[in-house]
């Protein structure tokens, strides 16, 4: 039995406003709310809402046989809650059908998995909490930001209790292996690896409306026939893409919604099932382990992480940012903690790429860097203001613990004192 596994990603960074160096120390609000709202509204009206509607219809019409997964970053959820709460409601409706699964990821869509494992774990938990509170179910499958993955990341994810992780078809790790099977982690054999079918996914997400493409026009029938013509043993076709593919990258006029809507019929005609990542991990047998010693991602021709940390600008920004991660975790200043998350979104670093600044609203990588660094400079000043920077982290930790312990002891002593006083008063009465 062949299975199609759909998953859609939603992530939008909170846009930084134009932040000049003379704002450093003066202005602690970093975001361009107008642009952020504008983007979210545009995506909501053109993609999220109509696409949700179509998917709900498909699930209804197929009696729940059509199934798909979503991965929505915490940052995106926050923005949706603020600017387009109807999208959240619509996702809640989808969640109720039982045919939809929400995946875990890092809350701010960050690169923490490459720079700070403690931070990474914290963000994964934070995101799972958020998903559970909104949709009522804790995720069991993990997908990292930009599908970044290495053996080390897999190990941590497995220890956090996740059953499967989604990764990219990268030549350097796949070699001759087919993407259309399920694999496993070399040491944590319980952790299953699902691999994105790069070609078929991009055919929908990027080529669909390209009329110079030799396969244009793409119909559901043709698409399904490609899948049926695959070797008989291939049992899992992973079609993963940004949710914007439906309605924005491929606009409504191109017929993308009709294409998606027709897929289940043609699939079922050919005995092809739809499956959720968690079900795939449970049902399908692993075809063997895959080793990934160096991190891979779903970006660029190299499928590596150089899109975000390949040049000096990016490295400088990332190093400066993650140098204070421990310090920030020690603080309990809420706005500071929140800014900390917002500044970690991968997009900020992607904009600093000289060659491939996907989705950037800056003219050049340098502008992106300047703006980000000015914001970061202000942020670092605020972190430094929390605790003196000449104290080492460990020392600070000890001090904080002592203070905390003192508070507890004081509390204890006070209650004791109160007790004694009342007893004394009673005694006197007697």
């Amino acid at each position: 039995m062949r299975n199609i596994c759909f998953y859609f990603e939603i992530h939008q960074p909170v846009r930084l406003k134009r932040y000049r160096f003379f704002d450093i120390g003066q202005d602690h609000y970093y975001y361009d709310d107008f642009q952020t709202e504008d983007t979210i509204r545009y995506l909501t009206d053109n993609s999220y809402l109509p696409a949700n509607q179509i998917l709900a219809e498909m699930i209804r019409n197929t009696n729940g046989k059509f199934r798909c997964a979503f991965s929505i970053s915490g940052v995106a959820l926050e923005q949706l809650e603020q600017y387009a709460p109807e999208v959240i409601d619509s996702f809640k409706e989808l969640a109720k059908t039982g045919s939809v699964e929400f995946l875990a990821e890092t809350y701010p869509h960050s690169l923490a998995s490459l720079y700070d494992m403690n931070e990474f774990e914290k963000q994964v938990k934070m995101h799972a909490d958020k998903i559970e509170s909104l949709f009522g179910k804790r995720p069991t499958v993990f997908r990292n930001s930009e599908l970044i993955y290495s053996d080390k990341i897999g190990e941590i994810i497995s220890k956090l209790g996740y059953k499967a992780i989604l990764i990219e078809e990268a030549k350097q790790v796949m070699g001759w292996k087919s993407t259309n099977y399920i694999y496993s982690h070399p040491t944590q054999s319980k952790l299953k690896l699902l691999i994105r079918n790069f070609k078929l996914s991009d055919d929908i997400a990027f080529h669909f409306s390209n009329n110079s493409w030799h396969e244009y026009p793409l119909t559901s029938e043709k698409f399904i026939s490609w899948i049926t013509s695959l070797p008989a043993e291939d049992n899992l076709i992973n079609l993963w893409m940004g949710y914007e593919a439906l309605g924005v990258f491929q606009r409504r006029e191109t017929g993308i919604f009709d294409f998606i809507k027709a897929l289940p019929y043609h699939a079922m005609e050919n005995q092809i099932n739809f499956i959720l990542p968690s079900e795939a991990a449970k049902k399908l047998e692993s075809a063997g382990p895959i080793n990934v010693s160096y991190p891979i991602s779903w970006s660029g021709t190299g499928k590596d992480i150089s899109s975000w940390n390949g040049n000096d600008l990016q490295q400088e920004a990332l190093n400066k940012l993650y140098a204070v991660s421990e310090r920030v975790r020690l603080c309990n200043d809420k706005p500071l903690q929140h800014d900390w998350l917002m500044l970690q979104a991968t997009d900020h670093f992607r904009y600093m790429n000289h060659k491939d600044a996907f989705g950037s609203h800056y003219d050049t990588a340098y502008e992106a860097f300047m703006n980000y660094m000015n914001v970061l400079a202000d942020f670092l000043e605020r972190v430094a203001a929390q605790y003196p920077s000449n104290i080492e982290n460990e020392e600070l930790n000890e001090l904080l613990k002592t203070i905390l312990n003192q508070e507890i002891t004081i509390e204890k002593l006070e209650t004791e004192l109160k007790k004694l006083k009342t007893r004394k008063a009673k005694n006197q009465e007697v």
């Binding site: 000049r20 160096f21 003379f22 450093i24 040049n311 000096d312 600008l313 490295q315 400088e316 920004a317 000289h354 003219d363 050049t364 340098y366 502008e367 860097f369 300047m370 660094m373 000015n374 400079a377």
Partner: protein, 413 residues
């Protein structure tokens, strides 16, 4: 080719560009270039082209013997050539004051009687136009347009006009009608117009009403810098931000001062240098005093030759806030030495540079921001310096020469 300047004796960017372009073109084996300038000094590099001094071309017939000619101008020109050129005199120019050889004494600079020099230069062109051995006439900048036009009328050979600047750039819009007239006539008569940037191309089309089809942009390039290693940056605690060029309205020096005063409000770790001279220098010194930043702001006066590169090498940032710059070769020179540059979007070179910060000339906030970033964030300095160097090394005159060649080919066939 008709030009006005040729290294080593140059007064502005025109000479540098003329040299680079001809040198790049000379790499094509079947290209023979004769370059006419008003007054050669005899120490020009003639290894790849032939230089004719207009001051050695007779425009009035005078009888002289070979030995006398040799004694007078032999160090610059073969007397045989003098006699050959003399046969080209077909018009009566006795109204023009000439010396004992029948030649005009050009100053070769930009004197007060510039318009007269331009018309004398035109007379020289008429003599040269009667020589049989050329296929194309190429005029550099407005001073030589009349010469080019006259040569075209006489010989019927195609004329290419090379616009290095227009009067709109020099005057911030307040054009001199005489100059505009000369420019307009030259552009109208040209068979093809080459501009040094799309910015200039736009001006030529919109302000001089030229057919866009006959205007092509060929961006300038930069000669590889010899002895780059001999320029050293002295280690110092403070960073140096430099403005280098004529201190005139066109170069936007006041925006630099304003940006400097913003940066100094935030950090004291920077010194600003304004190198060069010009009619706005006094005003700038006043402005610096008024902004109370004179302790951090320095004027060097006019720099030349090696001093220019030494200054660039010592700088952490080079800035060119020009209000209107047809091309602007100096940012490329700064990048060759590895100095990060900030240029205005109103500069022609902004069209071909990626690893330089571009801001609007009036946007002093953004300019100040860029200065601050380069000075404060090492990665910014490093990237701009390394990638900028790599980029500028790929901008070669040879390629510009090929583009000019294809324009020639389209005119000749």
């Amino acid at each position: 080719m008709f030009g006005w300047e040729f290294p080593p004796h140059i007064l502005g960017g025109l000479g540098t560009a003329s040299y680079g372009l001809t040198r790049g073109m000379s790499l094509q084996p079947d290209m023979h270039i004769t370059f006419v300038i008003p007054k050669p000094h005899g120490d020009e590099d003639q290894s790849f082209l032939k230089i004719i001094g207009a001051c050695n071309v007779p425009i009035v017939w005078k009888e002289n013997n070979w030995d006398y000619i040799n004694q007078r101008i032999g160090f610059q020109m073969n007397p045989d050539e003098y006699f050959r050129l003399r046969n080209g005199i077909k018009y009566d120019f006795t109204r023009i004051y000439t010396n004992d050889l029948g030649c005009v004494d050009f100053s070769g600079r930009y004197p007060d009687n510039l318009i007269e020099e331009i018309s004398n230069y035109e007379a020289v062109a008429s003599v040269l136009a009667h020589q049989p051995d050329f296929d194309i006439i190429h005029s550099h900048d407005w001073l030589t347009y009349p010469a080019g036009v006259f040569a075209k009328q006489i010989s019927g050979k195609p004329l290419v006009v090379h616009v290095h600047a227009t009067d709109f750039d020099r005057s911030r819009g307040q054009v001199n009608p005489t100059v505009y007239g000369i420019e307009k006539r030259g552009l109208d008569a040209a068979d093809h117009i080459i501009t040094v940037s799309n910015l200039t191309r736009k001006i030529v089309i919109e302000k001089y009403f030229q057919n866009p089809k006959k205007v092509t942009t060929v961006h300038n390039a930069v000669e590889p810098l010899s002895h780059v290693d001999t320029f050293k940056k002295t280690a110092r605690k403070e960073k140096i931000v430099t403005f280098l060029g004529r201190i005139t309205m066109q170069k936007g020096p006041e925006y630099f001062v304003e940006a400097a005063s913003r940066v100094l409000q935030k950090t004291k770790n920077v010194r600003f240098v304004m190198a060069g001279s010009g009619d706005m220098m006094q005003a700038m010194i006043d402005l610096v005093a008024k902004r109370k930043i004179a302790d951090r702001f320095h004027f060097t006066g006019f720099l030349k030759g090696r001093q220019v590169h030494e200054m660039l090498a010592e700088s952490d940032v080079y800035i060119m806030p020009s209000v209107s710059e047809p091309f602007g070769i100096s940012p490329l020179e700064a990048m060759q030495i590895g100095t990060p540059t900030i240029i205005s979007k109103q500069s022609g070179c902004a069209e071909i540079l990626n690893h330089a910060i571009k801001t609007d000339y009036w946007d002093i906030d953004s300019m100040a921001d860029a200065i601050f970033s380069i000075v404060e964030y090492p990665a910014m300095h490093k990237s701009l310096s390394e990638l900028g160097l790599e980029e500028v090394n790929n901008i070669r005159w040879e390629d510009a020469g090929l583009k000019v060649r294809s324009i020639y080919d389209s005119l000749i066939k």
